[in-house]
Subunit: 244 residues, 5 copies
């Protein structure tokens, strides 16, 4: 499987696909479980030259999803095809697809050299300097018509406030922003990785208290929270037998 | 099956019908899968003199639907009957109907020679000039009571702004508008085809920032996104065995 | 079964009951299907001296319902009992009851000889003069507390506007109004029959643009749309085998 | 089973528990049905010294519930335990619990001798004087933060208006009020019995038109409507075989 | 299993995980039921050195959950792993996970020695002095953007009012507050234990009538109510056979 840097061309697409094991999976016997774990590991480590994929363990953290995938590809159809390959594995065939979110990667819109030189430099210089992230959080965000009808400079101001509040957390929270307007119900998929959920909570609490928050609305998709583990560890957990 | 131009009389009806394969389909054996693919292909290419139908692959792009149909007919009952014929195929019988939306084709209401001559001419002259579309997007839209209670000229103005913003995208986004007020929960079904999802995203972001957006509301039906492929390719994918 | 005119006494009750066939029905064999069709036809044509019942085919038009019943009775318990008899048929036992709405018939409240003599006369003189209706539409409506707190004369005015807009459509749209406040989540069940869905759409678009629309709200029940066919034809369609 | 008057101590608790038979119940054979009816009758007539329980038939009136129980006990755990005993009967084991609402009985809060002497006397003197009630209606009600933040005297005034509108219906509508704030999603469970659904509808329409209605909001629980019949009659209906 | 005080380090995490037994569990035979009860008891009393877990019986009180767990751990992954171990027990494998809520323990934010010395002292001195709690209530709370955009001192004022209203109930209601912003859909998980549901209701009614309530909004997670019993008693009830 290619690394993300090898994916050429822009924009690249992302699919977040959440899976929930069916209750019947609890009755599967040991031999199929062993094959299932090996197969899922293989699917996520060998299968594709066209996508970059990660898996997260949400079992025990989210009622509606046992694991979710984040898949990047230059071509949406490649990512779609890869989701379907995973859904064809033993574990995929014993799961429901609980949710799918779609987005695009784009260059930053507001905080740029032209718009906001100092913040732009600070953002560019901010580095993740903490322990290897252990958790990934996906929060879909929709913004009101009022927000989109505000002037570009007014929105720039709110995003500057947002960025100012966020900067201090960049050394312990990695983030990525995907754009979804027109492709999905939400406007953005915000993706985070952290080893420090307490700091992540404080970041979100800080962002709740700025004016931008008054323009955020709910959409059909709900947030996801998953543990970052090795593919084989997640495959093992999803296919394990009762511990008792 | 007739082509759409052969359908005579106006208005014509559209049914968008989304199907989700049942988990049991994963257990179907190879012989039934082969028959299923052939049968679905036949249903979509030979069956009807009365409807024009297309199929889209949403498996891997939408959690709630594996494929959807867009069916045009001069008589709604003909389209209804055709949906039911498809639901009687092997793949249909192993699916739930996840959603159905109903609309009517009508001539443009606001941008006409009388109301807005220049924009009307620009619209009439705009041509899709890009690669063959690879994706179809269906977005149901409901408008607030406030919108419908505005004067005709005020609404005309907003639609002129909408059209102005859209014109530049017409060469890479095909669009079709269906009217649903009274026939379904939404007021409109907006249908798009494109080979360039990035441009489509930009179009939607542009339309989010105009006043018309303040009068749009959610309805029960959600948007659909599907890949445009040949009927036999979609039939093959829907009836394929595990790739691993 | 009695005709509706034979039902004596007022007010009479209505139950709208929507059924969705279970996926398992697709596996039923031919002999049970034949019995099912005959039994449903009998249930709807012979069974009752106490109710007047109609059946509508929504399969292929609504994802959540394959057919729905409209049942009138002077006594709600009679209508309830009849719904349950239908649910005990073979087709009923292979269905879920997807939704039930309950209402009462009452004399017109606003447009009367005393309140609005001219409109009242126009309404009384309006006649359905089109082809036999082919479709039935059921739209539940709830009104805001603001509406109910407006003065009687203010509401009368809005209903006069509503009626004025509607009159021209009465020759091609039949309508019936049921009252539900206190008996169900909605305030009204509006029921329509038409052979001309285009005109019906225009009627609804016209009513969207009057002030009354600002006081309408969503409720749990969704609209229904069904084809009007003979009982035996609907029974045949619901119990048919695959066409392919 | 004790009568309600024998339950000592205040406040007493109420549980409203709604059950929906599973589709599989349609396949049960005759011998289990006979046992099921006898068992349910016994459970509701003999089982408990600690609770007072009633059963209502909502099959055919509500899509989501076939029957519901109203259980009073001085101790919530006793009512809970009784719900679970009913859920352990044959009919209970073939049902889903569709909804549960919890409330407390308390003395009237607003209309008292001190607050509103005349209305209090009128309420105390109002008597149900109509035919034996045939229907029970359960309507959960939540009130806005605005309502609860109004002064006590302002709320008293609205409740006086409410009471004034209601008094005339007391001879044909029995009512009971339970308090749920903190124990459930709603603030109140309003419970009614009547033999005259038309009058009950008129009562609710009258209450829709007072200011109090502007402070009512939706909650997760939906209203229930059920027929009041003997326990053995309801047990017979729930366990009957196909009538055709 | 460790007691909560032995969990070192701050902040500690909480997971509230609600389980709903599948209908199939009703068909399980006696031998598996006996093993299931013993296994669940063992899982909750012996299994872990890393978490502190409690179980509550919501069967008969909540339609969507038969029992729920409250799990504290210094490391969220430990709590996650423990939820999954419980889900691997016999009872867990015959259940759906109906809901999961996640939060963090933190020191009090508003009522501190610096901000509000007198209330802080009163809070610190308030002691639960009633009978052993019999019920636990979990209420997720989200606050509006307006709330979070108010000044710190304005929010402090509202929380002082909240605290003032609450103080008198502290001797009969235990409470615990978890913070969820960024980790889950809600901002807070409020957890209560009481032997006196009437007092608990009065507390909630009092808090409904303060300005803070105008900033509370719904989120996807619903409240829970469960009985506090011994682990073995709950295990026995969840795995019991029909009582009739």
């Amino acid at each position: 499987m290619v690394s993300r840097e090898q994916l050429t061309g822009t924009p690249s697409f992302v699919i977040i696909a959440a899976f929930k094991l069916l209750p019947e999976w609890a009755q599967a016997d040991d031999s199929i479980r062993a094959r299932a774990a090996a197969e899922l590991t293989r699917a996520l480590t060998e299968a594709s030259q066209r996508v970059e994929a990660s898996i997260y363990l949400s079992q025990g953290l989210k009622a509606s999803a046992d694991f979710f995938l984040r898949i990047h590809a230059n071509d949406l159809a490649e990512a779609q095809s890869y989701v379907n390959e995973c859904a064809q594995t033993i574990i995929g065939r014993h799961s429901l697809i609980a949710d799918i979110m779609i987005g695009i990667s784009k260059p930053r819109r507001y905080i740029t050299q032209e718009n906001s030189a100092h913040l732009n430099e600070q953002l560019n210089n901010s580095k993740y300097e903490s322990a290897t992230p252990r958790y990934a959080i996906v929060i879909p965000v929709k913004k009101t018509a009022h927000w989109w009808n505000m002037s570009e400079s007014e929105r720039l101001h709110e995003i500057e406030v947002h960025t100012q509040k966020s900067l201090v957390y960049m050394r312990c929270v990695k983030r990525e922003l995907y754009y979804s307007t027109g492709l999905d119900e939400q406007d953005f998929i915000t993706y985070f990785e952290t080893a420090d959920l307490h700091a992540f909570h404080e970041l979100n609490a800080a962002l709740a208290g700025i004016r931008e928050n008054e323009f955020q609305i709910r959409c059909e998709h709900l947030m996801l929270l998953g543990a970052i583990c090795s593919v084989s560890e997640i495959a093992r957990i999803l296919s394990r037998q009762s511990a008792f």
